[in-house]
Assembly symmetry: D2
Homo-oligomer: 356 residues x 4
């Protein structure tokens, strides 16, 4: 119910603003006895960290996480795990001159309409910096899912999709785009460079697959696995669409094409001949890979000037200088992965609660 919390029995709460002293998360409901240190969390944060290539924001943040509670002698105690990341490269002054102007595509106007005031330093709470806290929480969630493998990657940037035939999971971490196809990665490099130089930005589509999820996780009717995933993904900054399995394409298939026929011989149940369902039926996992696709809009902060108004209603134009990702969807991939882990960990525990 809390505005800044997510999850039911495995639940995390995040706090912090882009240019405040720190951001953080409290992870509650974690099973006890799991080995956990900062070293288990840091690698995931490093994947999301800005400044690692010219294709991401040039903000320099070490994003060093600190465990403040919930771990004793290297193991989780079952009590809340407080994780904190200090903001080091704050430059609130960068924003002073736009403090009274509404940046199109940003939450500036909406926040001010809601709250009557807003922290204009880099978007304050609405900044994508909040997602670092999710990634940290996600690292804890992964401890609960030793048999589940979760992989997110970018499948499309600026309308240019990967070549499915060239998919190679091993490539995902070998380029700055989380791209599973080297040929496409090279194309994206040019596309993004062009957009960046033009003062523009690009959108992206991220796909995430979780394998090893047993049949039976999820719950009717309003805690469906896919409903939870949709909420989780849509809560990420810049996300405008979520699909499960065949998604929107399913609406163009005929019943017999979309049906995932079953044969005998599966390891723990039927052998499915296809996975249009994306691993979820009736809100419950089927044992097939859980597949989600997430659409990120192009970064709203662009150098190219856009018409807008200020707080007093005066018309003006705004081009955002500062340090921004030319394609926010790229760094979205580790966040999508984290949200997948967070949903699955919660659903695993919920399932255990009801069904033992």
């Amino acid at each position: 119910m809390s505005f800044n919390s997510f999850g039911h029995v495995f639940r995390f709460t995040t706090w912090g603003e882009s240019h405040g002293p720190a951001i953080g998360t409290i992870v509650d409901g974690c099973p006890p006895g799991l080995r956990l240190s900062e070293a288990d969390i840091q690698p995931w944060l490093d994947k999301r960290r800005p400044g690692s290539s010219r294709f991401t924001s040039q903000r320099r943040e070490a994003d060093q996480v600190r465990i403040l509670s919930g771990v004793f002698e290297g193991r989780t105690t079952g009590t809340p795990i407080s994780l904190m990341i200090e903001n080091l490269d704050q430059r609130p002054k960068d924003y002073a001159d736009i403090s009274a102007v509404y940046r199109p595509g940003h939450a500036d106007y909406a926040y001010e309409a809601k709250y009557g005031l807003r922290d204009w330093r880099g978007g304050g709470r609405s900044s994508a910096r909040e997602t670092a806290a999710r990634v940290a929480a996600g690292a804890v969630a992964r401890l609960i899912l030793p048999d589940v493998s979760i992989r997110a990657y970018v499948v499309e940037i600026g309308g240019a999709a990967i070549d499915g035939a060239a998919f190679d999971e091993a490539e995902i971490d070998s380029n700055p785009f989380f791209c599973p196809d080297t040929g496409t990665a090279a194309r994206w490099e040019r596309l993004i460079d062009d957009a960046r130089k033009a003062g523009s930005s690009l959108g992206a589509i991220v796909e995430c697959v979780a394998t090893g999820v047993p049949a039976g996780w999820g719950a009717p009717i309003y805690a469906k696995l896919d409903s939870e995933l949709a909420a989780a993904m849509m809560s990420i900054n810049a996300v405008k669409g979520v699909e499960i399995g065949a998604g929107f394409a399913a609406a163009r298939l005929r019943g017999e094409e979309n049906a995932d026929a079953m044969r005998a011989g599966g390891d723990h149940g039927p052998a499915f001949l296809s996975n249009h369902a994306g691993g979820v039926a009736g809100g419950i996992s089927t044992g097939q890979p859980v597949v989600v696709r997430v659409a990120f809009k192009p970064t709203s902060s662009i150098l190219m000037p856009v018409s807008t108004v200020d707080r007093d209603g005066n018309e003006t134009e705004i081009g955002i200088k500062g340090r921004h990702d030319p394609c926010v969807g790229i760094r979205g991939a580790p966040v999508v992965e984290a949200m997948m882990a967070l949903v699955l960990a919660d659903q695993k525990l919920l399932h255990r609660a009801q069904c033992g």
Copy 2:
């Protein structure tokens, strides 16, 4: 947190199986003093009711709703509103011969993997019949939104999209498809008839627009208006994708194309020159129309036989006779409308809680 409840301060819980004695919903947190009688709810149920044309299931249900609590002398009292709809046209016997077979595309296998047993009478709890309870609850939600207009309609069936230029809201209720374009409605009629005769089924895309939502509803970070809408829509049976505003298409736009530029002169804020955001920025409404698009897969129950297995792992084929919608997305439109109303009512009250 409850598996069968939705909402925070305006919250509803549904219960009931497709072929049990009745289904129903408890609406909790409704403001007091609102005029409410069965006559306020029935018209919305009638829109969703099966058996109204050859393009929907031939199950004959009056879907008469009864108010069992929470209303006194014609007005809501602020206490829980219990709404019940009896199931009249139950035919559990229709399902006896498939009680041990997993219908592809249905939740049969997933439910059994989770619970160890399932009510196989028409899908039991996983049946789309549950959505009647949502529509009833949605009618109550509308009372809280006198200044909001909500309209859902089908924009695509079997891959055939409406002609945007021919959009006419007045047409939506004049054809059996909730189609805002008469020319396309005629095409759909043929498509669906063909599919039905072939023992197949079609998918659909439903769009829903809410106008009159003031700027400021919604909340960061995990109760975002769009996140709640995504959860709400994805929880509807057969839904595989949700988009807000430009949705997946936004991922193919450049930053300057996707930006919703602002000018002076709006009624209650800026005049936006476009609405790629779909009325939501940073999880908070902008005052523009809230726009959601929802993808429904083709009905899983088809006459055409599909390979499957039974509970004992034996391979078999199954073609579903019974009474089924050839395109379940059509009757999804009133359900999408209801979920939009339910989310908005809750967010209105949540906003009032925090911001007065």
Copy 3:
């Protein structure tokens, strides 16, 4: 979060007014595969039923429960269990003449101050009739606790306490007061008769003991087992106080007296030499019996006239005729038992969620 729901993963929602057509509850999160029929619920309702002796309200209600969902072929399916009890002996007219007067000790004025209107038929939603729904839900909760024995009994009426030395559990169901001591039961009979004839009423204290609760249920900090019990008990009509273990008396003990010393030799842990803690330490069960005591105020509806005002602020006097319990705490015992079961079932599942 919902106003009319209780519990986390095992959760129930109640609805209905004293003189509406029916009352009921939805039990959500129940594990699947448990044997359940109306016959499992009815005996508990019968214990709470009015009209069974001259010491309770003369309202004649069969309190026949009906299972409307969530059970298939005699077993729970894991989906919401809808239970309904029709109100048969409604006499709303009894209340018409006091519809504009605030009954002292009742919620009349408070409800009207909150909601602007109220259902004045027997207190509407604020009637103790709502507790029948809790008892029905509690019967389901008991299925989850096969190894836990829960027993509530009255230990004091009108200031007359039982004689602990004469405690005999077998006597509890053999008198109309749930009194574990026959001598005291005889005294109470006279006390209550006297109060009833005088047009007055008496308060009572109910004690409830749950044995067989293993060590480890409950959770820090705000879902503590004792915190949940306190909330559960205080939510019962007419309850004004809750104690765990030694309770208020603990405040008068010295540290060494209150300490529950431990020795070796317990079945599943230490052998405690006393149980001042009432089976809960740090919010978590210790394996000892869980002991709660609950104070019920005297019934507010009394024949003896009391000064009050009407809706228009005019001073008047009111004496309640109608049908009322001379000591509402007596029928509170089965409700306290039900709430104990509901809390423990939820905590058992919560514990399983986190700790496996």
Copy 4:
């Protein structure tokens, strides 16, 4: 639902262990635009701070609070407020020699039974140190209640009650016991000194009164104002009992004695002639002062040896040296006040959500 969170729309989450690096709280749902700085919180923490007299623990903690988020230019922004207090005077070594022994009256055994391990440094999460976070959150809650006055004071220590006739609110802060009666304060001084010297400890009863609460806050049935208060108070360390208004004494009154008769002439409703109800009827405030009484057991950490067992089941004796409050109830008073504020703030916002 979260184990370490409390509240519905105004919600706080606490984290941290007694001897970890820090403790803290996230306050979520706070209305925007309220003036808030550390200086608004610190005075309340100072009241609860240990080491201020010989009647409290000698642990030296500055308990300096730091606001890490949610406040911008001196005002709340509506986003989560992160408050952190560093632990300065940690002495985990004090506890090393008892790390394998279960301290009677403490949560040692229960935690270990639940989680399989425990942070034995000063009780870890189960330490009363956690209540500092509540006090900090309570200071924020007070901002939402400008018209409500909340006062908690100790009314009984070691069985010695205050003299009601000598009650003087102005005295509460003039002695180290939060005692409203100087004569009794002097007696308590001797009682506590004696207990301390004897290596023993004393229990206490704290009363808390909130005036200025308008009629109408609270909600049936399971979010009743008194039910929420009971949960809030029982969640405080060492609390074993909670009463509202006349509480357990109400069980000994007759109906006509307990009735709070009404006359015309109240400022905003009836003038009540008494307040046995403690300001709550049917779970909703009546406009009278809200009165709660809370029983604290004697401090479990005492020098006097008590029989116990160690982790391996060996019998031993334990006397706790370290730094402990001889009467933990004294410092409980500011915590009770904070919890009252936290419940009322949440209920105020909940009421506004539903009833406008």
